[in-house]
Symmetry: C3
Subunit: 644 residues, 3 copies
């Protein structure tokens, strides 16, 4: 399959007269894909039942005729105002009990049955009409599930659906009371109908209650999405995607992915750096025009895994795209700088290096009205070329001689699991401690060591073929996974908090965690620490934020200055009892890497690399030239070297 | 007209026995004016319809007999509790949907028709009774419109009134949808009755929606105020004022001013410095006991312009007062220090230097009860002299030989417009970027250069007679104003963001902004920057926070270290493409000043100057003596030099 | 009475099979007391009226048979879910108007009459059943009144009860209007039924209104608690306690204490340091594993006074316990480190040094489920010994030869009064200024000087027998107390803000405060200051945050660098006109101490001392050894020296 480019286009925003010229310019710029339709419901059906397909028929015809392939989005992320007239209680409700009103987008609660029916209706109509359209080569369901914190809703609809979900999970209320430990503080229920959502409690709600609500909320997204894929598949044989948003972890992307053919995500490196990476101020300045050097790559690897979820394929077989690629300044971060020249090209090639099939720029032309006026496009609002289109053309030319989509299994696996993410959210125990960040910190360290990494799900069959498996912070570790790790041929690094809770958020205690066969480690106590209280390690580096006291035997790979063990190894299993800083993690990875026969390189600041089947890529994420191993890379430079 | 002093007095707070003595002491202290009545509704009408005018009759009589002139306030800022019994839904509603309850003041929604009728009734009664009273020499409507964020209300009354306002503005819903670009995200409405207020939306509401709500909310204040002035003018021939509050920009003061004879404002230099100037911590410490050296002066110049709004007079003809002058520590800022000795005198003379007719100290005697117990007065609660009265007496003596109220047109105009303020609020694009602050930063730079400045409204006829016109940040620039600037004889400095949006918040794009005749500049892209990411300029200074990429021709007055143009001149028109820091602005003003034949002085830190028709004033805002141009000024010193 | 140890035990959390073994291990560890029952309502009465006493009977039997004495808690802090079915409006309501929902604990409004009746019912049943049980040796009412900000509720029930409370206090609405100064801003009421709770007002509510609501809210706790003690006393002759929580000041603990026999409090030194002490970051790091060196001691001394409230006994006769002692990391602070080894012992001995009868560790075994999974116990979740039990055993052994409970009157009294705490909350006048912190700062200074201190209530009879009395920040100072201080033989230090308001929050002004007989000081003006604006004193130290201008005569003990008086003495009365920093306070105490014939020692950082009748204790709160006066104390060291 060829590596391809694309864009997101809103024919409904522009006079029909210019569609043809737009299409021609897209083709000229080397684009293959054009996504349309996902926000257009009010033009498809401006009043209930009055379907206006004509304009969309013509738009698809114009684009297809020009040689483009259309990704058709279902418009359910932006129900028109009249839908709210029909279902006044369809809105999600925020943590404080306020309905989240009409006037922007994503104004619906996933648990509202009436709205779900409304979605089934419009998706059926759309699939019937375009399911066999020769130009429609892929579908996208909805848009950015969970964006703007929309996964979790405290609505009446959610409350009722949550009770049903609990009934199905626990069967009887005594079982729920027992599983949650509700005797603590006399929280025992007499019936499922007494259970409320876990917001606005006097002090924190039972973590079991909160975890269940996270699981439920995630499942509601899965059900909502599946309602659409079920319909589309009846009418269309083309692949279905969803465009996930960066660092949205309130629902399980693997679960949603199991119903999709392609995972895609929306990559906004500068917006993310300012808005959600959580980097230190000096890093924010250093990468302000380039974006975080690992955040996008991590998502690329994550979505390769999500793209493999359907049928539980090996992650290297995962199909994935960047559905929306930042092309210039955006409008929604605290600060919105312009990218360093060359970064749009770098971001594009980086996606291909991680196995992307397509990179689509959002959006074709900057819109002069409404919420995203200051979100750059490939064209300016006056239809002149914006800087991004020049870099897209460069990639177009470079793609001519580049190989097709490639991925191979990486030597190193890094586990990312949504349940553990929710568990840390429910019980961080220390301010700011986040599973996502712990995994990202591990990923950064692996990348600083020049390693190519697969992100893998928490499944017993996910670890085979790797030289090393890193599985930090997995608070919930099913027995089958423990067994798989115990039996793995890889060097396995677990901890901290491995297996600290069961599926219902109770601490296993006979014996205490992690209770992993083959690993003689017991966490006897844990503590969390202020950021200004690092615990120095013997030999360099420190533990910050989170530290366990462990009992056990084995090789002490890392210990504190006072001599207490921090990383303890039994055979191929290593338990890491704290949150290491960069130097600590570099030391750990050097040691594990040596034992796993990995090639460890200490990369210069901001240089990153990745191998595909036949290529080695190098990326310079900094604003200065980098010399390394005989080559030189300018700022924003990309180097692609064929592998022997 | 003589320069006069006054105070604010609450006879209803004190035993009738001491009114006469109070009045005598006011006269002794050199006061001319005494404001009464604005919070007294519950004593005028303690239960519905039971009017008790006697005490107020006597109070006015006592004050008038002593030789004082009364400013009579309408009491509508503090409706008694029984009014709420009558109209339980009269309260404003905050952004989160909570009614803003009775128990302090300003507890009403401007859009509530019942309360408006109630105001008409009490104002009619008051105007009938006192309209011809010989001692009532001026009126004040309500008190501090908009204080405590009370302009904007999300009440049901506001929602209904907003729909009516939109109907009147757009006539039909298709026009509104088109003007707002509601096709974006399928936000199109089928009828005006579907339009809600733009709070609590899932993510940001359409900026067009938000701007319209700002315009509407401002208009509601205008309507409310006009209802009172219409009534008062039937019964009284004396001038009508309103006392605006510092840095309240949620309604258009020029529009309200068009119905008033005198603009007045309430000047609390120390409270403002702590609470709303937004100065850096070192400035907060340096000026903690003196107040910001430019904030008050800017408001003086602004309210001179507002005072000229009735009949669109030239700003130098604007009538304005300080209705409330801070006399000592206040009670409402985060910290409430005492003024440096001499500052009450300095503040008073500064107001006169900017053309004030009167400066009234708030309040006569510190109240020992209720919300403002720790707000200083001219007297202590035990009726002893407080420090302020001594400084007032000094001004009284100094006024004897000083000229009368004087103002002349300044050589420099600085535009301040409320619509642009709302537009920046709606779309700052970078955290903390504020139009008000941009204008204030420009004003500071002009003052550091020793210039006397007029603040002027955004009107085509506002620019004649000036040597230089500064118009930063005017996101909405009507064609007639563009034409006036193009044809001006002055050096005109525009940008950034000039003409970036139309009246409905759509970006003009054929051509792109600023699209000013005679100025060959196009803003091709813009970016916002973290505060720790200044972009250094070639030759000194930097751009901080906001920077545009411009295309065009002309003289490059300022450019970045990388050589991209930042200030570009075509003839008398200069476009400034970013937010300059102090050094940048000093350089720009030096250059423009030279070309405009202005006298530029680089003033020492904290020294400020202003010219009236026949006087040059110097003010030392610092805690140390200043030597400059042959004179020496002690801390808090004031120097008045007759001009030849 | 012997000094004793104990623990908190939840038999309902564990299989009945292990109760006996648990009891035996408690006895082995040297424990005397075991608290049970306070969260067990849903197991006592799982559905309305279905009482299940059997398990509790057996648990008490097992524990008692093992030799333990039981403290039986009433279960009213955690009403089961079915109680909410019965009284859906029983929940407290937060400041924003949201009900504080079921799902954790303390989910009730003190003003809800139905819930109060429900409490009377369950307490009656419990008292009838266990009132004469030989193993039940003490009672605890409810649990941690006010924890999680639960004293103050904005519910409908509270609104109605507040109106009744106001009727009882003021009799007629005119009296209330006059007392509150409601004429200010026309806030006058026509009837009590118009009075709302003081939340969600447009700007701050009348401080008189807010203070009244604080007084009312406190009284509701007293009434609620008394309802339980009245019932228990009918059926039981054993002492009744309540376990207060650290730094909960929303209700008057002396008032609640007047109905109890023993005061107890829950001491979490590490949790408090992170969560509520408010120490500077460097102190947070320095004491992260030891807790603040004065915060616990202050509470010990406070609760000795609260324990003496019944019958207004001298504070040295106050009976008090630590009902819950932190044994290891907790789960609820922003960060939760482990204690320095030895600190559990130190904390225990420190309580005994301050006169505690018992120290009970919370909890026996760490719970693997629900909200406090990461709260350490004496046992780990797997029933192995946790570190705390070893330190408890050490104390057990040390107690064998130690004297019994001892207390004597200290040479120095420090007044702590809840009304002044509320008054400063209502009107801090400067951000962050808190009465509690002012008193704690004074206490710290007294402790740094090596003094043993009694905390005393604000009662005329509370001061006799002391060499020095410190009474900072008492905004409300009844005449009888003023008289007692005037007539005292002690050196008395008053100010700042002494007597600044009357009981209804009006400023006395004829004359101005403090108006203390024998003290020629008048506060003519006050100011508050940014933390970065200290006012340096002549001779060292500074005033920070709060400073008064005073007029008067006498000896100037402290003055500013500019020469204005800060501490002024008339005979034995000294007025302190500002908030002194540590050096200032050390100087003041050295001077007062000399005149009061106190022995002043300047203790090394982190060393603290206290005298009982026959012992002098020394405590090393630091992580390094301390040498002082010929002895050496290791980190966390405790030294007990018999006094001659």
């Amino acid at each position: 399959m060829k590596r391809t480019l694309g864009t997101c286009y809103y024919p409904e925003h522009w006079p029909e007269e210019i569609w043809q010229q737009d299409a021609a310019r897209m083709v000229e710029a080397g684009l293959t894909w054009v996504r349309v339709g996902e926000f257009a419901w009010s033009r498809i059906e401006s009043t209930p039942g009055d379907l206006q397909w004509g304009w969309l028929d013509r738009a698809i015809e114009v684009l297809g005729n020009a040689g483009l392939q259309v990704v058709l989005g279902t418009p359910t992320a932006t129900p028109p105002r009249w839908v709210l007239d029909k279902y006044p209680d369809m809105l999600a409700v925020d943590e404080n009990g306020n309905p989240r009103k009409f006037g922007s987008r994503r104004h619906y609660c996933f648990s509202h049955f009436g709205y779900l029916q409304e979605c089934r209706r419009i998706v059926t109509l759309m699939a019937e009409r375009y399911g066999r359209n020769p130009y429609v080569a892929a579908w996208q369901t909805d848009n950015e599930y969970g964006c703007h914190d929309t996964t979790i809703s405290y609505s009446d609809a959610a409350r009722l659906a949550f009770r049903d979900w609990l009934r199905a999970r626990y069967d009887n209320i005594e079982a729920l009371n027992a599983a949650w430990g509700n005797i603590f503080w006399s929280m025992e229920y007499n019936s499922f109908d007494q259970i409320d959502l876990p917001n606005l409690t006097v002090t924190e709600a039972n973590p079991a209650h909160r975890l269940a609500f996270h699981r439920f909320s995630s499942d509601q997204v899965v059900v909502f999405n599946r309602a659409q894929t079920d319909i589309i598949r009846v009418h269309s044989g083309t692949p279905i995607a969803h465009n996930y948003m960066g660092k949205i972890t309130d629902f399980d992307h693997y679960d949603v992915g199991a119903d999709l053919d392609i995972a895609s995500w929306d990559s906004y490196p500068l917006g993310f750096l300012e808005d959600r990476v959580g980097a230190a101020p000096d890093q924010q300045v250093a990468y302000a025009r380039q974006g975080d050097p690992d955040f996008q790559a991590f998502h690329h690897d994550l979505y390769r895994a999500v793209g493999a979820a359907k049928g539980n394929k090996p992650v290297q077989e995962g199909r994935w795209w960047v559905m929306e690629q930042q092309p210039g300044p955006v409008n929604w971060a605290p600060y919105n700088p312009a990218p360093l020249p060359g970064m749009v090209r770098l971001w594009t090639w980086e996606a291909f290096a991680h196995g992307a099939e397509a990179v689509c720029y959002f959006r074709w032309r900057q819109a002069p009205f409404a919420q995203e006026q200051l979100h750059a496009g490939m064209l300016r609002p006056d239809s002149q070329d914006a800087p991004a289109i020049h870099e897209a053309r460069q990639v177009r030319d470079e793609l001519v001689e580049a190989p097709e989509v490639q991925s191979k299994q990486a030597p190193v696996a890094l586990v990312f699991d949504y349940v553990s993410e929710w568990m840390w959210k429910v019980q961080p125990q220390g301010q700011g401690l986040s599973y996502f960040t712990l995994v990202l910190d591990t990923y950064r360290a692996l990348r600083r060591a020049g390693l190519t990494v697969d992100v893998v799900p928490l499944r017993p069959d996910a670890f085979s073929g790797y030289k090393a498996v890193f599985a930090p912070g997995l608070m919930y570790l099913p027995d089958a996974v423990k067994a798989a790790l115990t039996q793995s041929d890889a060097q396995v690094v677990l901890g901290p908090r491995s297996g600290a809770r069961d599926a219902d958020f109770v601490m296993p205690h006979a014996p205490l965690p992690p209770a992993i066969p083959g690993l003689d480690v017991t966490v006897s106590r844990l503590e969390t620490l202020r950021p200004d209280m690092p615990v120095a390690l013997d030999g360099g580096g420190a533990i910050t934020g989170y530290l366990e006291e462990i009992e056990g035997t084995g090789d002490v790979l890392l210990k504190t200055g006072a001599g207490t063990p921090v990383a303890l190894r039994n055979g191929h299993l290593t338990y890491m009892a704290g949150w290491g800083d960069a130097e600590c993690m570099d030391r750990l990875i050097a040691r594990i890497g040596a034992d796993a026969a990995l090639t460890i390189r200490k990369l210069p600041t901001g240089l990153r690399t990745r191998d595909t089947e036949t290529e080695r890529f190098w990326f310079n994420h900094t604003t200065v030239p980098i010399e390394f191993e005989g080559f030189s890379l300018p700022p924003a430079g990309v180097l692609r070297i064929p592998l022997a």
